[in-house]
């Protein structure tokens, strides 16, 4: 089969490339048109000047960081333990981490609200007060929801990382040198997982920072709902914010690309 450049390949490539670029370019040009007849960054200035912007953006970043911390605390020891000690539980754990693909965010938040807006009782004993009553406990619920959404990506990243480094042998080697569990996790496993953890964290970040569904229905002052609100009232600022958030996503993916180069890590999500 002669290997020549075909119009067929070019046609589809160009079509796809245009699909990538035109909306971005269009949005970018549009975002510069706040002042009539000239290109300016006025839309960006005005968007950033809104105190609500900084407030909600900060809030979402804090939530993202908390999500990443909780997700790591949950996933890393679990994945490690599954690899090392209970490999036969792997399908079960994997199945659970894939649940967000079956239970979309809108259904998840529906269930969370339904379950945690009243006291949680088991056999008539109240084990948890309603979580939606104070903003602090609602934030907790929000982070829990985000951790659920992050599970597929985080688990996959950590699992790939563990697979690549032969945990069993490393652990046994460390144990034979007299290391305890804490030392093993902290000094051996984590440093070797650095790029996997970073990519899982950044992917989680990309998903959480602009997240709308769960934040809206839990009524939290997050960046996603703020963006949606701006969209209803402004014309050019949303375009500016879309460009900014595309840039942020690009940054996150770029770093993942860099740290996982040649490791075959995938960076794809569901919405």
């Amino acid at each position: 089969m002669a290997r020549r450049v075909s119009w067929f390949a070019w046609f589809w490539y160009v079509l796809g490339a245009l699909y990538f670029i035109i909306p971005l370019w269009g949005t970018f040009v549009f975002s510069l048109q706040k002042e009539r007849g000239t290109f300016s960054l006025a839309a960006y200035q005005s968007a950033f000047a809104d105190p609500k912007f900084a407030e909600t953006f900060l809030y979402s970043n804090v939530m993202a960081v908390l999500t990443i911390i909780f997700s790591l605390l949950l996933v890393v020891p679990t994945a490690y333990w599954v690899h090392l000690r209970v490999p036969r539980m792997r399908p079960v754990v994997e199945f659970i981490t894939l649940m967000p693909f079956v239970i979309p965010a809108i259904v998840l938040v529906f269930g969370l609200i339904k379950t945690f807006s009243r006291p949680l009782t088991i056999l008539g004993v109240t084990v948890l007060p309603p979580l939606t009553n104070s903003s602090l406990s609602t934030d907790f619920l929000l982070v829990a929801g985000y951790v659920v959404l992050s599970l597929p990506y985080m688990y996959r990243a950590v699992d790939n990382g563990l697979r690549a480094m032969d945990v069993g042998t490393l652990t046994e080697a460390a144990q034979s040198l007299g290391a305890g569990w804490g030392t093993i996790l902290w000094r051996i496993i984590l440093p070797n997982l650095r790029s996997a953890l970073l990519s899982g964290a950044l992917l989680t970040f990309a998903i959480v920072v602009g997240e709308l569904t769960i934040a809206t229905f839990l009524g939290r002052p997050a960046f996603g709902p703020y963006l949606a609100l701006i969209g209803n009232h402004k014309v050019y600022e949303p375009a500016a914010l879309a460009i900014v958030s595309f840039g942020l996503t690009w940054l996150a993916m770029g770093i993942i690309d860099r740290v996982t180069r040649g490791q075959g890590g995938t960076t794809t999500g569901a919405h």
């Binding site: 067929f8 796809g16 809108i106 269930g111 339904k114 659920v148």
Partner: protein, 292 residues
Amino acid sequence: MATTVQNPPRRSRLTWTWLGLVPFFLFAILFIFLPSASLFIDSFRTLDGGFTFANIAGLFQPPIPESYWLSIRVSAMTAVGGGLLGFFMAYALTVGNLPRWLRPVTLTFAGVASNFAGVPLAFAFISTLGRTGFVTVILRDLFGWNIYGAGFNLYSFIGLSVTYMYFQFPLMLLIMIPAIEGLKRDWREAAENLGASTFQYWWRVGLPILMPSLLGTMLLLFGNAFGAYATAYALTGGTLNLITIQIGAQMRGDVLRNPNLGYAMALGMVVIMAVTILGYSWLQRISERWLK
């Protein structure tokens, strides 16, 4: 679990081994299974707590079937459309013999685009194809073609589909590239050696081998679009009668006058998603067996 060879499994050891997974399972039970189960249970309850199938039956009363149907259509449309575009682009980048440098650039772009969804994506398309969007205006002023006059509307089925495609086809691209590269050179040469033309190779060998992962990934795209809420909400402000939008409306206020019917709606979604994912993993298994 006797994964440690030296020590005979003693009872205390056994318990400790399992204990390592307790936090994870506790979390999963609390924040995944309990909420889902409570939706599931109440879908089969009357308002005063009795058992009933009325809510499930209610799913077949207007306007709920229309919502499911619209969601299914949008998801199917973007899965097939995005799937084809993504597949052909992956084909172009792997066996199409395009310049090499295009590949890393395109892959990074696809990684970003497949994660670029929700409100900002809606904004981007409003700025581009909205009534005063960049492309709309260019087409109108430069080419004299008013796409809105011609029946296009960003805030409709077609507009939503075009928007969803933006994250659908890059996802397809990212998954199909390794799949196409999994086709062994020996298969192509064996086919050629037996007298097959390039077309015959693709038609009888290449495509059929890729088919499970092609269809499976399309199912994944289907689920991807089916569960989407944020993009649709930000784009149409809740005017498009998707099932996710319906559930959202129900959560905001009891528009169905029966919360349990709302739970049944969510249950219906989960069932459809589960079927999709089952189909996906089934096809995935076939594909792995072939491409191993």
